[in-house]
């Protein structure tokens, strides 16, 4: 089971703050998220390492997807 956590407005696009998805085989992140998922000014962390929509996600990965903010 791969875990996906979405922060800020991205949780509304994804329809949840946390989703757990079973992956039968390694899959591109782009193919997991419902299109059109924003790509610009987004941080993708896969097991704490920086990734992108073309990163390959495996069944045990933890993925955090968040906007780049500017601070208060």
């Amino acid at each position: 089971m791969a875990e996906f956590r979405f922060l800020g407005y991205l949780s509304e696009i994804a329809g949840a703050q946390i989703r757990q998805i079973p992956l039968e085989k390694p899959t591109r992140l782009r193919d997991i998220l419902a299109p059109p998922f924003p790509e610009k000014n987004i941080i993708f962390l896969i097991d704490q390492k920086v990734g992108n929509l073309d990163s390959i996600i495996e069944d045990n990965n933890s993925v955090v997807i968040m906007p780049i903010l500017s601070g208060g």
Binding site: L7, I43, P67, I68, L69, S70, G71
Partner: protein, 606 residues
Amino acid sequence: MKGYSGGLLRINLSERKVSREDISEEMQLDFLGGRGFAVKLLWDEVRRVDPFSEENKVIFSTGPLTGQAIPNSGKMVIASKSPLTGGYGDGNIGTMASLHLRKAGYDVLVIEGKSEEPCYLIIEDDKVSILNAQTLWGKSTFEVQDILEEKHGKNIGILLIGKGGENLVRFATVISQKGRAGGRPGIGAVIGSKKLKAVVIKGSGTIPNFDNNKLKELAKKGYSEIKEKKSYDFWIRQGTMQAVDWCNENACLPTYNFREGVFDFYKELNGETLERIKIGRRGCPMCNMQCGNIVNDWNNRPSELDYENVGMLGSNLGMKDLRQVAVLNRMADELGLDTISLGSCLGFAMEASERGLIPEKIGWGDFQKIQNLIVDTANQEGLGKVISQGVRAASEVVGKDSYRWAMHVKGLEISAYNCHVNPAMALSYATCPVGAAHKDAWIIGWEISTDRFSYGKEKVEKLIELQRVRGGILECLTICRLPFVELDFGYHKIPEYMEAITGNRFDWDDSCKKIGDRVYNLIRCYWIRENSQFNRKWDYPPDRWFDEPQSQGKLKGITLDREKYNQMLSWYYELRGWNQNGIPTEETLINIGLRKVFQEMMNQNG
């Protein structure tokens, strides 16, 4: 030049003298406005003086975009020689006063001298009066806002100080419209030292633009574009408060005086909690993405929250209830205290108490004792008197190794991002021209999106690029950064606005580099001229980030690497054209038209 009101209004409170001067086209081209005008005036007119002396001046400065009917143009810069840092100090504030100053026919207001008795100013176009403020002195900023509105009318520009400014708290700020604040490095205290309680501005004119029809068309398009952004609705609901979750996730939420980057109770303070208790929004004029979230506080009174004040008065103090944090925030606004510095000073006092370095007992999250200490700070009493001087001075009083966890750079308290594992953000704080403010280059988002653990030269290059744009150009134009950086509202809009306003071509890249660098270098020279002991050590963040790792969260056990940070700082100096003590070289200053500045800086400093 078109787009400028063209006037500088100078008011000397000692002599009770008012004069109007023209701002030259050369000044407009070289320094643009806002921060650029402010540092040029301070460089020329405020040399090696005590910040609380009659010779210090307060500059209220706008730019060509200020007060125009375009998105996010309601800001002004307030600057002075800082009593908190001893260097150049400024902050920006979104207020109706920005619009009214421009409509009254001025781009800049300079206050100098000192009044013998409390006074306030009313500026109605070319009519200026200095009025008695004896009955206003000692009153809260909220109360005086109401009194002055009642007397002079609503929807006018009002800038105020509270008790903090009156009592010379070194991080006293300027307040407007019950919650807008600006001038973090103690500009409110400088105003207090001049016995000036408030400035009221009513302008009735128009700004002479080159092409108003074109500007109107661009503005309409701009406002619509902002509203159509995917993140707009969420922004309207939470504004900067969404950063609580973001910072906790990335282990950079200031917690227990920046000891930790994650807070067990962050959900009690986050954007979702805000949404449950929110009763309205406030913000700057001309803005359609207002970021001030109004909640009813623990005492059922309105308080305007954003991320910085919740980070610093919330998790940094171990506070677990947003409505209680809202009380502390409202107290700060009423007293005219900067919430960031206040949160840092309170956190420092609580850690000193925990370590047994002071006799007072004040535990993390102790709501009542924190409120008492805030009042004592504004009144300069007891422990409050110690922290009212800022965390750098407080650590000198407390002694032992407390300087290691006094969280400041150059005397200005660090805003709400913990940088144990963010070397570029740490460098951003350390090289920010007013001390540790986040607004000049909020590089942490970019850094986490690339590689937060690395110390490469590309990070230093990116930092300078951001400083040129945000600390350089946006602060000179006095336009808010949030639509550009939060909603991806492209920077290409600015040259379009500038061309409609001034009639001149505005080259974005060239302006960022030339004007941005000129302003940054002149500010750096100001620090050096005013502080003969200035050296490389002034560009370091506190020891805590190098030596004391976080004990919780995913970044547990990691700190900044001192040697690698030092290398980044060397690259920074090299790329800026500064020597390895952080001093601009003669060649660098000549290249940006500041030849005479070098000689004066070296004469005064040497």
